[in-house]
Symmetry: D2
Subunit: 352 residues, 4 copies
């Protein structure tokens, strides 16, 4: 019963097979490998974006930070949801790469910005006033940190606000695949057709070993990206091991198939939890994550039975009423088994 994070999951067999296959013989280093050329073609095809440029890094923090740094000056304000990973979980990496920047944390329900809330936040930054940060850019996360999903139309409504203020928009797509599957749309519809300028397209959480693609829909940023990647120490010498993962991930829609599996598992889990009278969901379940309140005693029983997942802000092992509802996050991955879901539901139903 592993629900701690999708990054605790193993790599999918297709990914491992690709890494093994690419290992044969010598290969040009630093991204000049043949597999990277195929990745470039596959990304352009997948996103219907023949001009797009794509670069690979090994971590989501690197992908986000480099993408932001190419689009935001050191004095720029970055408008983000208050739960955004770039603000809460990257130890200041975006600001380090930007050489400044200020993340404006915007509270909004269910992890999702709305056009009105975003507009108000942007306009709260005075225009052309040298004493404060300047309006810099917008970043949205899809799948959000609350497990919800922006539809292409919702994305377009946000980027329209950004465009009205001449701001570029980044999408943190650490769980992009789960969002596209949930929204049942094309990658192009979810990104550039909806006004996105740059995407962090996650592989790691969804069955890869460690690879993220940064897709620049504005190829004018390509050389700057390459320089920033190198300066950040993120250019792999044996680059083929990144390329091979991404190539396999993009081939035959593996990325969608893996994400679909994770989403289906989460759907089953959410349905099971929601059916319990003493439990409730914090946010709608839309992709591969479930946020729920369970009474303290159920958390304790789950922990005893070996379930792994995160609670916050209160640890159920702390003193408190047995029936106090405490929040938790349950993440499913491509590797989550239906039997794990069922075992979990058995525990909370008191049958185990």
């Amino acid at each position: 019963m592993e629900f701690a994070s999708d990054n605790a999951s193993s790599a999918a067999p297709e990914i491992l097979a690709a890494v093994t296959a690419v290992n044969a013989g010598a290969a040009p280093s630093y991204g000049a490998d043949a597999s990277m050329a195929r990745v470039r073609a596959l990304i352009r095809e997948t996103f219907e974006a023949p001009e797009a440029e794509v670069y690979l890094v090994a971590t989501g923090t690197a992908a986000n930070s480099l993408a932001l740094a190419c689009h935001c000056p050191p004095w720029g304000a970055i408008y983000a949801h208050a739960s955004a990973h770039v603000d809460t979980d990257e130890c200041g990496a975006p600001e380090f790469y930007i050489g400044g920047g200020k993340i404006v944390r915007i509270a909004a329900p269910d992890g999702k910005l709305t056009p009105g809330i975003l507009k108000a936040a942007i306009e709260a930054t005075p225009q052309g006033f040298v004493h404060s940060h300047q309006r810099g850019m917008v970043t949205i996360t899809n799948t959000t940190e609350a497990g919800t999903v922006y539809s292409p139309a919702e994305v377009a409504a946000l980027t329209a606000i950004a465009r009205d203020h001449a701001l570029p928009v980044h999408m943190d797509g650490a769980r992009f695949a789960n969002a596209v599957v949930a929204a049942d749309c094309s990658p192009a519809e979810m990104t550039w057709k909806a006004g996105i300028d740059v995407l962090s397209f996650g592989g790691t959480k969804n069955g890869c070993m460690g690879v993220e693609a940064v897709v620049l829909f504005d190829p004018a940023k390509a050389w700057e990206f390459e320089l920033r990647r190198k300066r950040g120490g993120h250019l792999f010498s044996k680059h083929r091991f990144l390329s091979a993962q991404m190539e396999a991930y993009l081939t035959g829609d593996l990325w969608r198939r893996l994400a679909a599996r994770a989403n289906v598992r989460a759907e089953r889990l959410a349905a099971g939890i929601a059916a319990m009278p003493e439990a409730s969901l914090l946010h709608p379940r839309e992709a591969n994550m479930v946020f729920a309140y369970l009474p303290r005693r159920l958390h304790r029983r789950l922990t005893e039975r070996g379930a792994h997942y995160y609670f916050w802000p209160v640890d159920p092992s702390a003193e408190g009423p047995e029936d106090e509802p405490l929040a938790a996050r349950f993440v499913c991955s491509w590797a989550t088994q239906e039997t794990e879901i069922d075992a979990f539901l058995s525990v909370i139903r008191g049958r185990d």
Copy 2:
């Protein structure tokens, strides 16, 4: 005939097998995996350093930059050989991570600093003069960029100078294994016993896919290192894939065995070249790299026969006398075959 770089080589079978094996099932992320615990124990054992701390990153640039940033303030001068990778080949990554720093390029023969030259360079930085950079730290590269090797005694003589000026010393060991094998010493003798404070211990060029260990002989820097690594985007979520490589590399002295193979190949190549009247070596061949002058016509023939390697500063395809001696670098790796060496020598001997 692949002599371009050891980073063009594939991963050794033991490394790939370890990566495959570690993939089974879920594993804690961000370095809490069981393999990383074993890596820590293996490093301490290998280096006879029970207090040392070790962290993994995927690139040499990251290893060097983070190691330097933990030991040098933003206003520090970093004393390095003029050929040092940190100065010439990292697009300013060390300065980016340090948030400043100034690399003092020191010319010296065969890629090796000497105590006298180092002392003069340090003392040329005025002490306590607020207008200039301050004396910050020393970094030496072993195997050097000229393919030569510092012996433990030579390292100790340099660190003694640094210690006299209260400066810490970093070793860029992208090719540390080749140096240890060449010097026929223990890792401890080459590092902390000779006064090294922090080591970038390379795996990538020597048969891994992409992993470098930063070994901190002063564990007081550990937490700062972790924070800097995270901020740099170099903390892997699926960390086990780094750990497994390093664990296999350290097990059964694989790292020494792979390096020994590369060194032996380079020895054969150097001997063959040196025996040619129209060729000569630029630097003594001591590890896995050979630097040699060959006449332009031989470079051209080699290129026609498919040999890969770097020439500089002059490309032999440029116009010039047929017999003009032009410099080149030939790198052997764990994967270089004896047949490749022999084919190469056949070409330059005019037998092919």
Copy 3:
């Protein structure tokens, strides 16, 4: 009727006289001037702190940023009131000097942190969790941005919380003189005796031309401060022109006398406003600033009569009900005349 800011005021005659006097003949540069030696002695005497170190810069932004940078690592969170100048009015200068940092904006009434609110904010930053910023330092502003004043006892209560969490505390004293006069205490009581580690001691707003002293109660930070000041371009070559201002400011308690004058003016202004039925104060008037609601029609009349001051967020020239109460800030300085106050009060009382 000049109430826009104390930084619109001229320099006091004593300051100008000192600058004129110090100009005679040659003088050593970069802080080695005789006047600076006297400043050092005067600061130590004024603050009863014989070990303290002091450095001069020309702007408050430089003073704050350098002071913070010497006490906070790049990954540190800086706990500050949501109205703090370092967050809202310095275009990211603190983060630029720190090379990172994250200002945690804490809302609290009347511009003043309380121990409970500060403690909660600090403890909301997880301890030792590599993914987030780390607890770094605390900064408090006295006189606050709301014109209120922390008493020494209130400062001590805040620094006690900081000390419990091993965090240093900075005081932004751009209007330190006004606060000390208002609290009727000694500079030592307001600072190191109350647990302050480093003070930005403002001169500019209180009758100087442009000088701020950074007082380091922990002299161990002195050399780092000097280096950061130089690197920031804030070390004056003709330093005597800074020294002379600060020397005159400290001599004969000029700094207290100038601040007392400003506070008295503000008191008269606040009393006059508070006596009007259609006006009200936003915050208690404690030093040299008055925050008040006035109906739109009075703002308009004041503007017509030539009064200068800031309104926000709403400009009274915008459409709206004549009687709508709109907020404004009125700042008095050492140079504010009683006649200006009386003219102002005449206008709002409808007698002019």
Copy 4:
């Protein structure tokens, strides 16, 4: 006998008078003062550059660093003479403001780059090679650090090389006035007509208290400059005290008159030294600085008689032959008296 530096000199009476005059009454802050508007007009007139933008800061380090930061990306190489102040005397301030950058130190006689040497240095940076710094910009110093002066034609020859490589050019004019007087040209001829993009126009060393103008001949950089200045803490609140200095400096060609006085003094000093058989000049005397070899015994006698100036690398108080020629720098300022020169010459002629 004060020859240590022109920054040890006092402010000219016209400057002090202007500062005193500008002090009357309240004035808008942060550069909105009336004097600054006049400075802008005067700069445009003086430089025959109606589009130019100008900003004031208080130190040369700030002027240079901000000017460079607006024209060079973090990964840019900055081509400079090896003696350039930005490299040797600013403790890394340019790199701090640029957020990176790498100063390429170019050796050349008498402190002056030549087109051939500059071209070779630029072309030694590989083009479009992601592993190294990229060609960023050129900075030249006029008056040079060796006291020599580039003529407009020489400047134009250097900027032509830069332009061929699409690089902007900065002039560090800490002693710009001395150079213009020496070259007997117009400010326009020395700058934008000769291809300069941005100028640090020094006032401090030449009779001001502390003010430097950054003149942007490309006004497109203006807003970025303002933001960088604010972020650096270099925007003065009581800005009128900077403006008034610069306004007086530009009025009635005061800047040229003060520089002419300094140059004439240095000419007399150099002639006197050159006439001595046991002395010799290191560099041609062209502006207000004299570099000369004197025998150790003369240095000692000068020191005894109270002369102030810099020797390097050897201090004459160190043991050594009485007649050993040791180098020194003698700087004249607007305030240097003819009697000081004559007293100096008397000492070295043995008449005192």
